[in-house]
Amino acid sequence: MNHYIWLIRREFWERRAIWIVPAVVSAALILVALFGRTQFISDVPLESPYVGKVYLGLTGALFITIMMLYSTLYLLDCLYDDRRDRSVLFWKSLPISDTDTVLSKLIVALFAIPLVSFVAADVTSLIVAFIVSVRARSMIGGALWEGGAWLQMQALWLYVILTAAIWYLPVAGWCLMVSAWVKRAPMLWSVLPLLVAYLIERFFLGTHYLATLIGGRLGGYAAAAFHGSWNVNDVTSSAWQFMDIGGFFTNRATWIGAAVGAAMVAATIQMRMRRAEV
């Protein structure tokens, strides 16, 4: 297990964007808070319980969206870059199995990158709230603690990281497979075969199962992991009630997707064992 620490560290050395991207977003938000207009704050009814939740929710959502995009790019590149520059031959000269290599990339994409973003979102939201509170002489900072909003958000984001990792495993597996296989342009190849398959299905069979399947996976996460909506105005309604934990983990789609994703990861490992060149 010890060498996983090194494998993951290696990824942080190579991909400095893992922390630079959230740091830049964070810096941008802090600059806006420092120098942006603050008049609108006075219109917000700070005593209402939803302000803190909405604010934390929006900050977190921004970081999570950027993080997901970056994770996808990372997955498409991680097994391609070292084949392209031939450094794969150096990594393969060390006693690290291809299984461990592939799994370490998956762990970085699904857990390490989201956790870094999560911490960045937390720190940023606290700093921005503090700055705005001081500048606008308001108590938005206080609103964060209203009804345990901040703590609930922590639980919510950890839930998102865990469930998104399971839900999007087939997407991650597909990206890894493309990354381990293609000779060039992994981003293009991640889309092209699916597009061709979609067109073939549409013109020759007249159906659109594939589109439904992919659309359901990409867009179906929120519906699978959460109850319809979170009534943030209601103090008694908590993040716990919003999370559909039972529903998510008993959903067949969750586990079928996870199984397909795991199969793709296994296929990636086999490709990685056989392919040392672009």
Binding site: H3, W6, L7, R9, W13, R86, L89, K92, S93, P95
Partner: protein, 293 residues
């Protein structure tokens, strides 16, 4: 009763009918070879002869047909375990550009149980290279030094070098081989080198394996080569008589003709002219081109 240490050891590398195909192209065609522990073996062949395919197979980087054992293991199935005892430098350009020298050392120290950090640092201390430099900032020669420092600090039984000095200038090449000879070689280690600059490694090798079009055409120790092959510089008037003894290769140099013979007695040839043992490079050309050149 033979003493225990007289029982011959199993070869370090043994290949039986080793084949590798890429589609319709046959890179290795039923190659047989065996490499004993403690040897320094040159795997020599023209471009596309199958050298790299053979090395890739030995290092578990590719699938193959036939039987192959390296350090008693099946390379493709057991690459991870094999890499505890074997290491390789596949090409000088393979250290990633973003990696810092100190990170490279930390990483290898972290994942390789037989890596000795003090040795790597000791080797690097003799160079101009500092730990905070990234590979992209280093010259090709310096990168090779880093790679060699990492590799030589691993207590491995087998070291495989695939065209290790490709693209290096003569100074860097010389210092590479000097370091290899002075700091790495000892009896417990086996080295396999492929290169097309045969002259450069000739005085290093204990064995030479010639490979051509996927087949092993010669696999001998240097002592055996000296016993088995002779080159004779023959004056023009004795040429026909010498040719009657069926040389396997002829070469014309500066008005003289050099004939190459296999398995002939020195006495038989001495009358035709000056005898010498062909260099590996000459023998390689002679063996692979056959006939007159």
């Amino acid at each position: 009763m033979p003493k225990k240490n007289e029982i011959p050891m199993a070869p370090l590398i043994e290949a039986r009918n080793l084949s590798k195909r890429y589609g319709s192209h046959v890179a290795l065609n039923n190659a047989n070879l065996s490499i004993e522990a403690g040897r320094i073996v040159g795997l020599i062949g023209p471009n596309g002869a199958g050298k790299t395919s053979a090395l890739r197979a030995m290092l578990g980087l590719t699938t193959y047909e036939g039987e192959l054992r390296v350090l008693g293991r099946e390379p493709f199935r057991e690459r991870t375990a094999l890499m505890n005892d074997a290491c390789f430098i596949a090409d000088v350009a393979v250290l990633p550009s973003w990696l810092r020298v100190d990170q490279a050392i930390d990483y290898v120290a972290g994942v390789h149980p037989r890596f000795r950090r003090d040795r790597a640092l000791g080797f690097l201390a003799r160079t101009q290279i500092t730990g905070k430099r990234r590979m992209r900032e280093l010259s090709k020669g310096m990168k090779t030094q880093v790679h060699l420092a990492l590799t030589m600090a691993i207590d491995a039984k087998l070291l495989v070098l695939d065209e290790p000095t490709l693209g290096l200038d003569i100074l860097a090449r010389r210092s590479f081989y000097d370091a290899l000879v002075n700091d790495y070689m000892d009896e417990s280690r086996t080295i396999v080198i492929t290169t097309h600059q045969v002259e450069e490694v000739e005085n290093l090798l204990t064995d030479a394996i010639f490979i051509d079009r996927g087949r092993i055409v010669l696999d001998l120790s240097l002592e055996d080569i000296a016993q088995r092959f002779l080159a004779v510089s023959v004056a023009a008037d004795k040429l026909e008589a010498a040719r009657a003894l069926k040389p396997f290769h002829e070469r014309h140099v500066l008005g003289k003709t050099v004939l190459y013979f296999e398995a002939m007695k020195r006495e038989q040839l001495a009358e035709f002219g000056e005898l010498h043992t062909p260099s590996i490079a000459d023998l390689f050309v002679a063996k692979l081109s056959g006939g007159a050149s």
